[in-house]
């Protein structure tokens, strides 16, 4: 039994080496498949992360009238904080709003001059409200609208709620991301399917050239497992080598794309690649080896019947 395994292993390695041309072709084809799989993984991660980040940026800002009494503002603030849908409320006082405005416009001469002309701080306080989920903004917005309706016309407290303005932009972006995610999913499924089929066929052709050998082995009285074993091992080796090469190729691509994705999506793909390396390693090497093993086993099975 042990000698048998050792012989099968040796035959597998020798076969891999002596049929170098066929081995290289199979390795390349599996590499293409793995490249597609890897790319789809990264793309999916990129899209998911950017969607989450976009959702986190969404909030409702309530701007108060500058003359609003602090007690009324505090009342609204604590009422909002008490809502179960709300995850956080950030309060910005009138003074903070002014200093932020100054900071933002420090290079804008006209704005600074206009500010200097005024005796009083023209800005009101505001609160930024974060909901637990994007879908909850609607109800928070309704609650705030109600509050505003209850106010007396002479002494308004709430100046503006920016939700309706944000809503449209948020919806459009969500739609775009959903669309892109769906389209990329469909494309990737098609590509992965195509790559898998090409791998199957390449390995089948590679083994087709060995069908004569397989029939000779049967005539000499080799058992099916003894014939199949080396081919299965070679399939595994194709997958392993292809996986390693694919990872090596991905590395410089990730180094290059890291800063670009960081600037554009606020998600550094290189950091993701490095921190999830063991997962990516397992997925790529694993699917490569599975692809090689399954294709070669199926291909040999054809010539072992009779």
């Amino acid at each position: 039994m042990l000698t048998g395994i050792r012989r099968v292993a040796k035959a597998g390695f020798v076969g891999f080496w002596r049929n170098a041309y066929v081995s290289i072709a199979s390795v390349f084809v599996i590499m293409v498949a793995l490249f597609v799989i890897g790319t789809s993984m990264f793309l999916d991660q990129l899209l998911t992360t950017s969607l989450t980040q976009l959702q986190q940026k969404v909030d409702i800002n309530v701007y108060f009238v500058p003359s609003a009494p602090q007690t009324d503002i505090d009342a609204i603030r604590s009422a909002v904080e008490a809502l179960p849908d709300v995850s956080a409320v950030v309060y910005t006082s009138r003074e903070e709003a002014l200093s932020k405005y100054r900071e933002r416009n420090q290079n804008d001469e006209i704005a600074m001059q206009a500010l200097a002309e005024l005796d009083d701080n023209p800005l009101g306080a505001n609160i930024a409200i974060l909901a637990n989920q994007t879908s909850q903004y609607e109800s928070i917005n309704l609650f705030l609208e109600e509050k505003r309706d209850q106010e007396s016309a002479q002494n308004p407290v709430i100046d503006e709620i920016n939700y309706p303005r944000n809503k449209e932009a948020i919806d459009t972006l969500t739609d775009i991301i959903d669309g892109v995610e769906f389209a990329s999913l469909v494309t990737m499924i098609i590509l992965i399917l195509a790559a898998t089929l090409i791998t199957f066929n390449t390995i089948r052709l590679a083994i087709y050239t060995a069908r004569e050998e397989i029939s000779i082995m049967r005539l000499v009285g080799a058992s099916n497992m003894f014939i199949r074993g080396p081919f299965m091992l070679q399939g595994l080796m194709y997958g392993l080598v292809a996986g390693v090469i694919t990872l090596i190729i991905f590395y410089p691509i990730m180094v290059y794309l890291g800063p670009i994705t960081a600037a554009f999506f606020e998600f550094n793909i290189f950091t993701y690649f490095v921190s999830n390396f063991s997962y990516i390693f397992l997925v790529l090497i694993g699917s490569g080896m599975a692809l090689g093993l399954v294709s070669s086993t199926l291909a040999v099975a054809r010539y072992l019947r009779v």
Partner: protein, 227 residues
């Protein structure tokens, strides 16, 4: 040790037959030549023995074993009892002469010590000690056939089945191959061989079965090539 009991092989159309009611027996240590025109059924007959082909009627026995009742999983074990030699050699192209012979022993589950001992002996028997590490494409036709014979005998089979072993060889190589088969037979192994070669038959002077259109038409001890 080989017994054909009224064996017929019909083709799918149900009318033309490769073998018709063939009955004969081969006893141990015999050297049997089967002659006949192309299409006379010689190769089909040999394929029956190694269970590559199934009869439509009748039975083939190897000792007391009905060859075509052997389950598929047990076939490799059965085939190891038979050494096969073919006109087109059927060597593994990516293995050297030594490895081709060793493969038959590996498939048989022999130990490394046995392989290292027996393969050189088999190569010496066919006089190819110096070509052990050559690949088949580096060997002449006669040399390839001698490797094939070495592979066939290395597991010490009870019987050698040779299908036109000299079909692709020049007269000198033919002579060498026949001498080797004779030597193997003298050492106690049964040999069944098909051939077209009149010279080979006349030189051997052993039992000859003559076939025509799937039937056995002559069966002579110390036969001559008569067609």
């Amino acid at each position: 040790m080989i017994y054909f009991d009224n064996v017929s092989k019909l083709y799918n159309d149900g009318r033309s037959a490769a073998l018709q009611e063939v009955t004969f027996q081969v006893t141990p240590k015999e050297f049997v030549s089967i002659v006949g025109h192309s299409g006379a059924g010689k190769t089909t007959l040999l394929k029956m023995i190694i269970a590559e082909d199934k009869p439509s009627h009748g039975q083939v026995f190897f000792e007391s074993l009905d060859v075509h009742q052997i389950p598929r999983g047990k076939l490799p074990r059965y085939r190891r009892k038979i050494g096969t030699v073919f006109q087109d050699f059927k060597l593994l192209p990516h293995k050297t002469a030594y490895e081709n012979i060793a493969f038959a022993m590996e498939a048989n589950g022999r130990s490394d010590e046995e392989i290292m001992e027996n393969v050189p002996q088999a190569l010496a028997l066919v006089d190819l000690d110096d070509k052990a590490w050559n690949f088949p494409h580096e060997l002449s036709g006669g040399e390839k056939q001698r490797v094939a014979i070495a592979r066939a005998i290395v597991n010490q089979p009870d019987i050698i089945v040779a299908d036109e072993p000299t079909g692709n060889l020049d007269p000198i190589a033919t002579y060498e191959v026949v001498q080797i088969l004779k030597k193997i037979n003298d050492l106690g192994t049964t040999v069944i061989m098909t051939t077209h070669n009149k010279g080979v038959i006349d030189e051997l002077g052993r039992r000859v079965i003559t076939m025509d259109e799937g039937r056995i038409v002559r069966d002579d001890e110390n036969g001559k090539y008569v067609l």
